[in-house]
């Protein structure tokens, strides 16, 4: 069998591409994990609508939606705990976290419905880097737990 010229180069390139892909996947590995689901929950990721199961890894800019009589519970990588109630829409605008220094930044928008949150490591170590928003208000958080509710009408 004759080895075609260039096939080695191709193999190497493929290998490199695969490596880069894996690296990219590692970089975008979840910012948080869905732990509990009741009823109907969907995740909008770009143009795709995904149906998560417990263990689903969330990414930055995901929009989590719940149906009527549905809930979802999430643990973020910095141990922030979130849950959303029925007919809610939550966007994970921004999240980064350095496990070594325990610092990072997080911005989450509740577009409608109900959200409960228990703050995590980012609030503990860099509280000014955490924001929760609705269409009418912005929340700064200093080590605590709370509930937000919005009809999403804005004004």
């Amino acid at each position: 069998m004759r080895i075609r010229p260039g096939s080695w180069a191709r193999t190497c390139l493929c290998g490199l591409a695969l490596l880069l892909c894996q690296q990219a996947l590692a970089d975008i590995a979840g910012i948080g994990t869905i732990k509990t689901i009741t009823g109907e929950v969907q995740v909008q990721r770009g143009a795709a609508t995904l149906t998560p199961v417990p263990g689903f890894e969330l990414q930055e800019q995901d929009v989590v939606r719940t149906g009527a009589a549905s809930t979802v519970g999430i643990v973020m990588r910095d141990k922030t705990i979130l849950s959303a109630g029925a007919s809610s829409e939550l966007r994970l605008d921004k999240f980064n976290f350095d496990n070594k220094t325990q610092t990072g930044a997080m911005q989450t928008t509740l577009r409608k419905g109900r959200l409960s949150a228990i703050s995590g490591a980012i609030v503990k170590h860099s509280p000014e880097a955490v924001q929760f928003k609705t269409s009418t208000m912005t929340l700064g958080v200093r080590g605590t737990e709370f509930i937000i509710e919005t009809e999403g009408g804005g004004s």
């Binding site: 994990t33 417990p54 141990k79 228990i118 609705t134 009418t136 080590g143 509930i147 937000i148």
Partner: protein
């Protein structure tokens, strides 16, 4: 004529409809401790800092504070609070000097850890090994990882099936109790298991 009346009625309803204001309720932690939330709008800012204190955005854009109660929160937000995953927990297991053998007392913590993991949907576990400062730093790097690995294996043997199980060793770099080099400090000979 009827259509016109209908249209006017719909228009009026739209004009009169006021969505409920966006609202925040501050909750006490499990130990009763209460943090703070600062609510900001283009028209103002309010801080709430007491258990069940509320802040709501008014029509004029200002923020008004008020108060709710444990009962009203439980009634209105019961399902929401029920959906919160269990808080992450951390367990410390201690070791006999220079070895990867658990101290007898740590068996109790191990049992509690196993039970905790079993109650969590899709548990994620992080196992971090540590040593005291007896012996060379490099040897302690290896020993810390060996301890962590041993605990991870033990958890698997106990039938723990996590979504992920990450194992690292930090040697003597991260003491719980800072000490001089060469000091036999039992509290630093530990494996920390974080569960979420």
């Amino acid at each position: 004529m009827e259509a016109a009346i209908f249209a006017i009625a719909v228009g009026l309803a739209a004009l009169l409809y006021q969505p409920a204001p966006d609202k925040v309720v501050l909750l006490p932690g499990p130990d009763g401790a209460v943090g703070r939330v600062i609510v900001t709008t283009p028209k103002g800012e309010q801080e709430i800092s007491h258990a069940y204190e509320t802040a709501a955005v008014q029509q004029n854009g200002r923020v008004e504070t008020g108060s709710a109660s444990a009962e009203s929160v439980a009634e209105r937000y019961g399902a929401l609070l029920q959906a919160r995953p269990a808080r992450p927990a951390s367990y410390l297991l201690y070791f006999v000097s220079g070895s990867d053998e658990l101290t007898p007392e740590s068996q109790t913590a191990l049992a509690a850890l196993k039970q905790d993991v079993a109650t969590r949907p899709v548990p994620e576990i992080l196992v971090i090994g540590h040593t005291d400062r007896v012996g060379a730093a490099e040897a302690n790097e290896a020993l810390s990882l060996q301890r962590a690995q041993m605990v991870a294996d033990l958890l698997r043997q106990l039938g723990v099936q996590p979504k992920s199980l990450d194992v690292t060793g930090r040697g003597e770099r991260d003491p719980l109790v800072p000490s001089a080099d060469g000091v036999d400090e039992p509290r630093n000979r530990r494996v920390e298991v974080s569960v979420r």
